[in-house]
């Protein structure tokens, strides 16, 4: 199969899985706050696992330039961290509690959707890089991110349901915020294939954005919602599962 088509299909499938995130809300008005926290922690652990997998791949990255790839990777990572940081500052979500179900500010819902769209775009880049490095590895990262999309969408669903949206609308919006994942996955893949020297830069950028997203969005919210012991346990278990899967794929 054409690899570009494959990444389009995988990232689309990952985006569609986010619709499953509304299921915990079927038949109930509100989701227990502790579930929202665990959902965030689960997503955080899996994203950190994806960041670990991408960062640990120095040996299998093809040498495409005379420069050791560590430096462009590190610069890419710093750029990724700064990109997420400044975007939050610019959008106005840097110090805002993202998971408020009944926020008064009408802009809050739009901010949440924008943050989710941005979040997904970074994950699309991670999928693309993984696919360039190794097909099996790419499928694994896509799988991990697809699974992590579900609890993430559950958190989004809890927020939007509290603002009066129906589950069908929320499922549609959850998939829509992940369209950026598909676009960035295909675009980043095409760029890296066309210009292999960009690989370490994009790889570093993806690692930096994943780590920063976990630390600025997912973990701080989850500690407030579920307490530190259970959040630490859920995060570590999710991370361990990704490491284990990576071992099985080889």
């Amino acid at each position: 199969m054409n690899p570009t088509l494959l990444i389009l299909e995988l990232s689309t499938a990952a985006a569609l899985t986010s619709a499953l995130g509304v299921l915990p809300l079927v038949g109930r008005r509100r989701l227990p706050t502790i579930w929202v926290g665990w959902g965030n922690a689960l997503a955080a652990g899996m994203m950190l696992g994806a960041a670990y997998m991408l960062s640990a791949l120095e040996a299998s990255v093809p040498m495409v330039t005379e420069i050791r790839p560590e430096l462009p990777e590190a610069i890419g990572a710093v750029l990724g961290i700064c990109f997420i940081y400044w975007t939050h500052v610019a959008v106005g979500t840097a110090g805002v509690e993202l998971n408020q179900a009944h926020a008064e500010d009408p802009l809050h819902g739009y901010r949440i959707l924008m943050v989710n769209g941005l979040h997904s775009a970074s994950e699309g880049m991670a999928m693309a890089v993984a696919m360039v490095i190794d097909l099996k590895f790419g499928v694994l990262v896509a799988l991990a991110l697809a699974v992590h999309n579900i609890p993430e969408a559950t958190v989004l669903a809890a927020v939007l349901h509290g603002r009066g949206l129906s589950l069908r609308q929320i499922a549609g919006l959850a998939v829509a915020t992940n369209v950026s994942q598909v676009l960035l996955a295909v675009a980043a893949y095409s760029v890296v294939i066309a210009a292999p020297a960009t690989l370490p830069w994009v790889q570093g950028f993806a690692v930096g954005t994943l780590v920063q997203l976990v630390l600025i969005e997912l973990l701080p919210e989850s500690y407030r919602e579920a307490g530190q012991t259970s959040i630490a346990l859920v995060t570590v278990v999710a991370l361990g599962v990704v490491v284990l899967l990576r071992g099985f794929v080889g």
Binding site: Y52, I81, L215, V236, G240
Partner: protein, 247 residues
């Protein structure tokens, strides 16, 4: 080469001791910081978290080369160990240096976690002699340099809670003492120790990951703005990854 005319066991011990002493250098940046505010404690925690997460990424990457299942099994044991230690410490009224209560528990846990994680590094030093003294020298230098930010991580937790720089340096060196102590038996019984290495590495990584998520990050988020804490943690993590890559 150090101690060419010494007994090999003494040489192995000395190599391990060098790496342990190097950990104390991590306290030196705190010579220039006298008073630390609550936000300063938060950023110190963020630096320690980033350095420890970066070190964990490196450990897991190394452990999974021997076996992913064994590494993850070791990780589970590491998490359970910290859970049990936390529970035990929670039942006692603690004093550690100038700190009491929660602060003392956090410092003590940090020293325990870092000390436990040094066991596998000691085994790595001892086992590396199987590849010749030159190879062992390279590994020793790598671990010694890698220990400096670990000492920084320990000092970043201890110094803002009232410990002096010499005390931070002393506890940093203490946390690495398992390195010379484990290097010798690992050198003598390399075949017996090698299969246990992924469990040990996984144990260390699990304990450190859990320590970051259960103690350091929550406190950092409480005491300083979330965006800055996340920024400092991410940067420290990337710095540690880069540092390990160049070793």
């Amino acid at each position: 080469m150090i101690g060419a005319d010494l007994e090999p066991v003494v040489v192995v011990f000395l190599y391990g001791l060098i790496t342990a002493l190097a950990t104390g250098l991590g306290a030196l940046p705190f010579l220039f910081l006298k008073q630390i505010s609550p936000a300063g404690i938060a950023y110190s925690n963020a630096i320690a978290s980033g350095l420890m997460l970066g070190a964990c990424f490196g450990l897991v990457s190394q452990g999974t080369r021997y076996g992913s299942t064994q590494t993850v099994a070791g990780g589970v044991m590491g998490v359970l160990f910290i859970l049990a230690t936390q529970r035990w410490l929670g039942r006692h009224e603690l004093e550690f240096g100038q700190a009491r209560g929660v602060g003392a528990r956090r410092m003590l846990l940090m020293v325990i976690v870092m000390t436990v994680h040094s066991f596998s590094e000691g085994v790595a030093i001892g086992s590396s002699f199987a590849g010749g003294v030159t190879f062992a020298s390279v590994i020793t230098i790598a671990i010694a340099v890698h220990n400096i930010p670990e000492g920084l991580a320990i000092s970043a937790v201890m110094q803002p809670r009232g410990s002096s720089v010499p005390t931070c340096a002393a506890w940093s060196v203490f946390s690495s003492l398992p390195q010379p102590l484990m290097a010798v038996p690992a050198y003598l019984f390399v075949d017996a120790f090698t299969p246990a290495l992924p469990y040990g590495i996984g144990f260390a990584a699990g304990a450190m990951f859990y320590m970051v998520f259960v103690e350091l990050l929550p406190e950092a988020y409480e005491q300083a703005p979330r965006p800055l804490v996340s920024f400092v943690t991410s940067m420290a993590l990337i710095a540690m990854l880069l540092f390990q890559r160049f070793l």
